[in-house]
Structures are given as C-alpha cells and as structure tokens.
Symmetry: D2
Subunit: 331 residues, 4 copies
Amino acid sequence: MTVRLGLLGAGRIGKVHAAAIAAIPAAKLVAVADAFPDAAKALAASSGAEVRDADAIMAADDIDAVLITTPTDLHATMIEQAAKAGKAIFCEKPIDLDVERVRACLAVVAKHGVPLMVGFNRRFDPNFVEVRRQIDAGTIGKVEMVSITSRDPAPPPADYIKRSGGLFRDMTIHDFDMARFLLGEEPVSVFASASVLVDPEIGELGDYDSASIVLTTKSGRIAQISNTRRASYGYDQRIEVLGEKGLVSADNLRATNVEIANSTGYLREPLLNFFMTRYTEAYRAEISAFIATIVSGAPVSPTGEDGLRALLLAEAALKSAKEKRVVEIAA
Amino acid sequence: MTVRLGLLGAGRIGKVHAAAIAAIPAAKLVAVADAFPDAAKALAASSGAEVRDADAIMAADDIDAVLITTPTDLHATMIEQAAKAGKAIFCEKPIDLDVERVRACLAVVAKHGVPLMVGFNRRFDPNFVEVRRQIDAGTIGKVEMVSITSRDPAPPPADYIKRSGGLFRDMTIHDFDMARFLLGEEPVSVFASASVLVDPEIGELGDYDSASIVLTTKSGRIAQISNTRRASYGYDQRIEVLGEKGLVSADNLRATNVEIANSTGYLREPLLNFFMTRYTEAYRAEISAFIATIVSGAPVSPTGEDGLRALLLAEAALKSAKEKRVVEIAA
Amino acid sequence: MTVRLGLLGAGRIGKVHAAAIAAIPAAKLVAVADAFPDAAKALAASSGAEVRDADAIMAADDIDAVLITTPTDLHATMIEQAAKAGKAIFCEKPIDLDVERVRACLAVVAKHGVPLMVGFNRRFDPNFVEVRRQIDAGTIGKVEMVSITSRDPAPPPADYIKRSGGLFRDMTIHDFDMARFLLGEEPVSVFASASVLVDPEIGELGDYDSASIVLTTKSGRIAQISNTRRASYGYDQRIEVLGEKGLVSADNLRATNVEIANSTGYLREPLLNFFMTRYTEAYRAEISAFIATIVSGAPVSPTGEDGLRALLLAEAALKSAKEKRVVEIAA
Amino acid sequence: MTVRLGLLGAGRIGKVHAAAIAAIPAAKLVAVADAFPDAAKALAASSGAEVRDADAIMAADDIDAVLITTPTDLHATMIEQAAKAGKAIFCEKPIDLDVERVRACLAVVAKHGVPLMVGFNRRFDPNFVEVRRQIDAGTIGKVEMVSITSRDPAPPPADYIKRSGGLFRDMTIHDFDMARFLLGEEPVSVFASASVLVDPEIGELGDYDSASIVLTTKSGRIAQISNTRRASYGYDQRIEVLGEKGLVSADNLRATNVEIANSTGYLREPLLNFFMTRYTEAYRAEISAFIATIVSGAPVSPTGEDGLRALLLAEAALKSAKEKRVVEIAA
C-alpha cells in the first residue's frame, strides 16, 4: 500500500516533511498547496508533486491523508475540513491557541472517525525515544521526578511573539507534552514563575522570556521545566527522569564531538542551535510514524487529545504566572 | 598569631573539624568537650588537646574561639553563652529549628559583637567556589536562573527524620543557602511541591521525601531546586547558573574517573555517596576560612543572618507545600 | 550542469553511493552495472536509473563519470578502461593490492588526464574534517604527534580475510591515509608490531588481528596507530593531534547520548558498531565532493597518488611486522 | 607496632613523604638528614623529628626504616649502606642511571635480606589502582593492548635535562613501569621513535623531547606509549587497557569539574599541571603501603627488581631511538 499525501503549507516545515516523505517507500506526495503560489510551485517541482489549491486537495480522490503545516490560525478549520473529507490528518502543533476552539475541532474529528496526529516532534527524537523506552522497560522503576531543560538560543522577532500565543503556548507546550510523555500520570496542578529577563520588548508585548514551571500529578510525581528564550551556548534540550531505581537522562547534541585543549582549557563546540537541525531525525521519524500508522491501521500518537492536554497545561501555567498562585487542572 | 580553639561536640563532624585544625598552622585545638566523656577523651588524645567541660571552655582565658558541633537543640544556647564570653563562634547549621529562637540568639550575638560563622560548608566546595568566582568575574553576565539538583543517596533513619525539622529545614536548607549565594538577590517568593514517593514511613512522620522548589527574586531571577532522599546512583550535587552571556555549571564527583567499556556500554562508577566524602575539601576550607577571618579581622561569611535567611526560606517552603500555594517572604 | 553517472557495482557500498547521488541536485545516476543482474536491476529500479553492462557504461556518451564499487580485483582494470574513455573516476580503495599494478594504473590515468578520486571516506567524516580544519586554522600550531585508535567491533569472516590483502592493506590503510592527512608531512619510516590475539584462524591464514604502528616523518613528527579486529564496545574510531599550542581530538559516535545511572554506575550505550552507520555522513560528503570537483573543475582529493602512498605504507608495515625491523620508505 | 623512620633528603619529595608519615598512626618520623642543614632543620621542626646526619640515621637503633629522597647519584650507595644496617628501605626511582650499578646494589640488598621498595608512585594512584583491580577481577578478560599517554606540561630546565639520564630514563621510566604493571607479561622487544620537536636545546644536549614507544611481549601483547615534554593543556596522564572482553581506561584529573558554556562553546579548565598535585593521593598511598608492608611483613611492591626492569626498558628504548631499530630484551 502507498499512502498518497497532500501537503497544505509549503513553508519551512512543509519542506522538511516533503523531504521525509521522499525517503519513505510507502508514501507518495501527490500535491502541494500554499497561499503563495511560488512556494507551492517550487516545492512541488523539487518533490515531484502537483500544485493544487487546498480545497482541491481536501476533495481529491487520489489523496489519502493530509499534512497541515499552514499558519496556526488555519489549523482547526483545515483539520475539520479534512476530517469531513475522510482524510487521515497530520497537523503541526498547536491545533489552536484557544481551548474551546480545540475542543470543537476534536469533536468534528471524532465524529468523522479519522486519525489525527499532532506534531509533537520531540516524542520522535531518538534520544527521547530511548529515555521513554528505558522507562517502559522498567530500568529506573516507578517514575518519580522529571526535569526538562528547554532553552531557545535566541528570542524570536517581536512580530512572531505577538502571534505566538506567548511563551507557554508556543514554546513550553513542547515541554508540557514531553512531561506528560514521561511522567506516566496526568498533572493535576501547575505552578509557573515567569519573568522578563532577556528582552524588555517581550514584556511590553505582555509575554515572558524566562520561566520555571512545576507540574504535580495526583500521586505526587513532579516535573520541573526550565525555559528561557536565550541560551548563548545553543539550543539546550535536556531531559532527566528519576525513578526509584535510577536516573535516565538525555544530553544535548552537537554537530561534531571535536575538542580542543590548550592552556585555556578544553573546549567543545556550542550546541546545535536551530530546532530544525537539532530535531532533524525527529521530524523524519514523526512522518514515518504517521505513514506507518495509516498503513497498519494502528492508533496514531500523539493524538488531538494530547494536543488539547498540553494546551490546558499552557493555559494553567499562564494563569499561574499572572496570578502568582498554583492552578489546579482536571486530571 | 595562633587562634586557640575549643571544640564543643566530639562527634562525626567534630572529628572532621579537629583534623582540619591540625593542618592549619595558625590554629591550635586547646580543648574538647562532649556529653560522652569517652568521645571527648578519644578526640582530645588524637588531636593533642585537653578534655574540658563545655562551661570551662566557654570561660577559658586560653581559648579565642569555639566550634559548636553539638546536637542542634544545644546550638542557640551555646552560641549565646560563647557570645557573652566574647569568643568568636563557628556553629554548624542550623542555629535552631525555630525562627524566633534564632532571632533571639542573633540579637545576643549582635549585642556582644562577636563574629558568628554558620556551617554552610558547601559554600567552600572548590567546585561551587569556582562557579561563584566565574559569576563574580562577569563570565556569564547578569544571573538569570539557578538550577540546583540536590539528592541524598538514601533516606536517613526514621529516628533522625523525627528530630530533623523535616526535609526543608534539614536538607533543602543547604540548597536555599546555595541559591542565595548564587542568585545575587534575595528571594521574595517560594513555591514548593513536595511528595512522599520514597518511603511511606516518612509520610507517616509528617515529612516529605521528594520536592521541587522554585524561588523568585524581586527582579524576576528564578532558582529551582530538585530534592529527593533517594538517588540510587549516589549523592547527586549539581549546580547550574544561567546568565545573559552563558551558563556555568558544576558536575558531580566520583572516587575515580575510570571507565569500563564492553558490549553493554560504557560504565563509570556511581557518585561519591556520603556527604563527608563528597564535601571533604569543603569542610577543610570552611574551617580555614573561619580561622583566616579571625586572624585578619575580616567579616565572617556565611553569617548568622545567612542562617536565618535560609531558615525563613525553609519555613516558607514548608508552608507552601502544606497549603499548596505560593508563599511570599520579606526580602 | 548535471553530472551524469554510471555506477559499476550494485553491492552494499554501491547502494550507499546511489542514495547519496539521489540527494545531490547536480548529479544524476544514469546507469547501473553489476555481475549479478538482479542486483543491478533492483538498484536501478529504486534509483530511477537504467541497467547497462559495464562496457556499455564505459562507452556511453550520456555518462560523464563512473563510480567503481566492484570487488577489488576489478578496480585497476576498470579505472584504466574508464580513463581511456575519458570519464571522471571515483573508485573505492584500494586501487589494487599490488603496488606495481597500482603504479601502472595511475600511469594510464595520468596519460588520459582524467580525474581519479579514491574512496578514503574518512577524510569526509565531519569530525575528522573539523580536526583538519582546526589544524589548517593554526589552532594547535605546528603538528607534532598524531594518535589514531582504529578498532573493528569484530573480525570479518575467514573468507574475507583471505581476499583482503591482510590487516595493513585492508584495515590500517584507512589509518595510513588519515595519518598522512593529519601529519602534514610524508612518513619516511614505519614500524609495526603485529600479533594474533583475537582469533588463531586469522594467524593460520598468515594475517594479524592486532597491531601497533609508528610512522615517523623526516622532521620527526610521529603518528601512532592502534588496531584490533575486536573491540567489544563497538567501532572505535578516535583521533588526536598534538601540536605545539594544543591538542585537537575527535571522539567516538553513538546512536544516542542517553545515560542510565543506578547503583552500578553511569552507563552510556556502546559505540555505533558498523562502518556504514558510523560513516554515513562521510559517505554522503565524499560523493558530494566528487560531484562538486567535476562541476568546478577543481582537483579531486584524495587522489590515486594518495591511494598509492597509503598502500606503500601498508606494504612497509607488513614487512616491518614480519621482519621485526623498522622499514624506511621514500618520502 | 610503630615504624620508626629516618628521612634522607629534605627536599620537595621529602616534605611530601614527611606529611604522609604524619597522617599514618603506625609510623613515626624520628630523624631527618639533608646536605643543607637549614632544609633538614625546617622539615624536622615542622614534623616533630630530630636533625641527624645520614650516617647517624643509618646507624641508629631507634630507626627501623629509611626513606631515600636524595639526588639520584646518592641512591645506590645509600641503599647499600641502609641494607648493611638492616633497615627497611624506600627509595625514590631510579636506583641509579647505570644498569650495572643497579645490579650491584640489588645484590647487596639481597644479601642482607632487607625489603627495598622503589618509588613508582603511579602504581598507587587511585585511578590506576582501579584499572589494575578491574584487570585482576577479569572485567576485560585477557589483556591485549595497553595505551599510555604521558605528557609533561612543559620541559624542565636544561640543567635538569643534563643530569636526568634523558627522556627515557627520567620520564618514560614511569610509563615503562606502568606498562609492566598492566601488561601482565614482560616485554621482549622495544621500539622507540624519538624526536626533538619542542626545544632545540634539548636536542643539543643529546636528548629527545617527543617519543612514541612500542613494547611487545612474548605472546604478542602490545603496549604503546606517547610522550612529550610539552602539553599546553596540562599534565596529560591517561591509560587504556584493551582486553578480549572490553576496555578499561583512566582519564585525566582537574582541580574542579566546572564548565562554562557560551557562544564560543563549552569550556572545562586545563588539567592539573604539576606532578605533585596530580599524584597527591598516589604519594600518600605509596608511603602507607610501605609502612603497611613493614608492619605486616608482606613483600614490598614495586621492588628493586621492578626498578631494574624499567631501567632496562629505558636503555633499550634509547638504543632503539638512536640506532633506529627494534631492540630485544631478555624477558
């Protein structure tokens, strides 16, 4: 079986996914749509696909599944449209910045019974996959505490900040999903201390650039997340999980492991400092997993529900930071 | 000048300090007291000192300074007695488990104008000293976030837990002091999520064994602390400080740096797993610093006020964990 | 310009190169040949190329360059045939196991003035490229000593050993090339101590499985190489270069950087243990470099002369090991 | 039992040993001798010993053992004198720079049946002890290859070079001993490539400053040693032992394990760069072991024979480097 795909959005991530599809024998990119015709044309040409408009892709008989990589404000509508057309759906996170809109969208998906996978790509990073595999294998026993260090190399432009939904919904949302992926239980309370330490303009836009978040589950498992929009040494993405029998951790990645030693000391290069370079393998594996579930009929993961859960944590964190109090959430 | 010392308490820590004194040319241990005469006698013999009772040490003309390493409930009274006698004082942490008692004690010390140094030994660990030195040198610019991982290898006996003052006053208190040492600003709010994940008996005693704590300063600097009473891989003592220009971190210590590689992987030994082994150098350097300040007349550090501040943070953390809310503290 | 390629040999390495070509916009695989028609057919199908026989590829007007990935005993003849046909040539190492045959072959290549690149893929490994880049940038000053640790995870089958030309010509040859790549001067003497420590059958075949080799240049720079056919912990590929101003080194690679800590210690996974996984990036970069030189007209590197030099070092090492003496070679 | 000691030589190493003795309950430093009366006086005063002249120490009834830390040219004579006086002997390496003189000296020691321990302090370094312990425990199976990286931070003064016996007898001798300690078999052949790359003056004195040495045992086990007199990054002291089942290695030591990360990369401090700091623990453990063997009557190790063996390897290496050939030695 070959899964025939339509790609909605020919931007940066769209290109990454198109390249991933090209390397999967069981998948074929049939058509590409983009609001900018030149972008669609260029990507279609390099990937051997046609240019179609989004509606045509949704309606097409020769397309089994769609990948939605458009701007966030189009996600929910496109998901609904694809669900109604009976397509399997992969959508970049978030489904929407508004919780109620997400719930409505998921109801449509549920009604039409199509698979919906949300693009929490980090679940597919080989390092984090291995951390989870060790947990599942019982290596560290019962999980007790999760520590996530998640730091961007540099803040995005103000224009992006404005549309992003803010630190928690834009950046921490990946960490909320990762915490859920590793905790093995749903958080029931959230505390966030958030500050503007990097760039006053971010504060003027009503957002934060630095935060420490604590999630607690019903049985008392604890996840702590450390975020900043500026890490001069690269894209800092580390995970540690403490269990009753031990600790499993995933360290950062570099382009090479060359070290220079002289009278100043021993110097290794900074970390990979771009998310698309850092998570190259994760993006590939994510699309492979999506294709594989369509082929096998197995349930997709992460689901729309996972997208909703992470968003609820982000909302709670925002409330916590603003109101300087612990916020409880339904498990 | 030779600083003539009286040691009050010939237990485990008392012995460590006596050995440190023996290696300091400017110091001489004159007398040792202990409620157990045999303990005092043995330590006096091995260190070339006399056995005297505590009152005699306090009153002695041939003693310039005292080291108080008795059980906690005797600390405040002995500090006051020594202050009245005009002795310079080194006292193990905490001054007392009760904040008001500490305030009263510090008032006596202040009235008599004697130096009082509190035994936060970790400030003298060569690794943490170097972290602080790099901060002071401007290497990472303005401090933004501090991360402290502080995990005991195994829980203490129930009997100890009962007398300890609980996780925050007994164990985290070191981390509170370290956070203050590194943040460069006083915390104004505390949040603690605390659980019983390791040993139900600890919970039955009203204490916690696992916690994640977030401290926030007025300008928004954030410290996060991860504590547990059980780390199967050793005594986990790590620090990271993020600043605008970079990150400075101190990693754990091992007895050797031997590694074994085979088909299972690459194996390094567990961490040093006993606080007296892990902080051997810190204990030595702490007593050296105490002696040096007496000789030079420079102010001691950490002070009784530092002891009080750390205790206030511990109290606030306890209240936060119990009442599941953020607790503000006066800066 | 698009470089049109013919691939001679559809085996393991042939497939790797075909995949590399597919990702290079400036290159197109036109035809594939293999003694096993099914192998040629399968690779041609998956890479959008035609099946042709080797002679047809050599004679073809629509092919600019050939990649020779056949068994070693066909290399020299095919290189000569391609040179006479005016094709640019990429050939896997070695050109031949016999030095005189190599010289004769290179004479033909020289006469016809075609570019010949030899497949010392390690020169294109991103880590080793970075080591060389640091040397060229003057980071460590004048090179003094090179240390190469090069260990296979497990010995090849006896059948392979027989045809391989032996440890020095088959395995160490890569290290000889790397030593030359890093030393910045030609070795003028070789000493090799070689043993049979891993598998007596290797000794019965007249070969060695363990060796330590020292190369010395005219000015006294020294390279040492440590080889074994069995490293239980994976494919051990490390380089260190000491210069007057410092040391630059490249460490091994793993699939993930996950670490597990428990009472046994801290465990990282074994090394990548297959040369095609370890050198994935190197193989890609090597073919990219070949294509780029054809497009630009720049000289290829490494050349046939590099292939010859490495083989001369291998011959000298073999003589050294057998005769237990230092062997000089013309610089 | 208390071992009563006489110290012959109150220089740098003498002081280190005096401090070690002070911390050993079973040992007492009774007397110190030195050609410079002030040096003897100062060390005697600080260690509670008397000043005596060397002959008096040799003849004393109240001294059980001597530590010889005089200049090298006095070692053999003093060993003989002490042996005749029935003292247990600890002597710094080397016994003498001349093989025949060493043999004669050892004959005297043998005749008088006193224990003689030679100061190969590295055998007592906790890291190298652990490497050997793992070998003895069978962790890596049969030993196959040993790699020793041994590099001084900076060359000694010309004056020292002149009296030193040269690179192999002065510096590599420690590595020859370590190789023997780890190989489990005696080397039967030596090859050394030695150069003057660091300082031409060293060459003018007839010595080398850089060398790579290969030792081979009868069964084909191989040790390689990399030496230089200049490592800008510190005192580089690493060991790796490859066995049939795995690799055991000991990495370098630093004063702290602090790391600084910024846009330049991740920087750790240079290595400990002074042999007395790097081997502090080794010096202590060495004297403890000497005292313990006297108390227990167990055989000392390393012995005078070990001192001779290492010297024979140094002689062979020198001949190999000079004559550019492999040198065989009796097993």
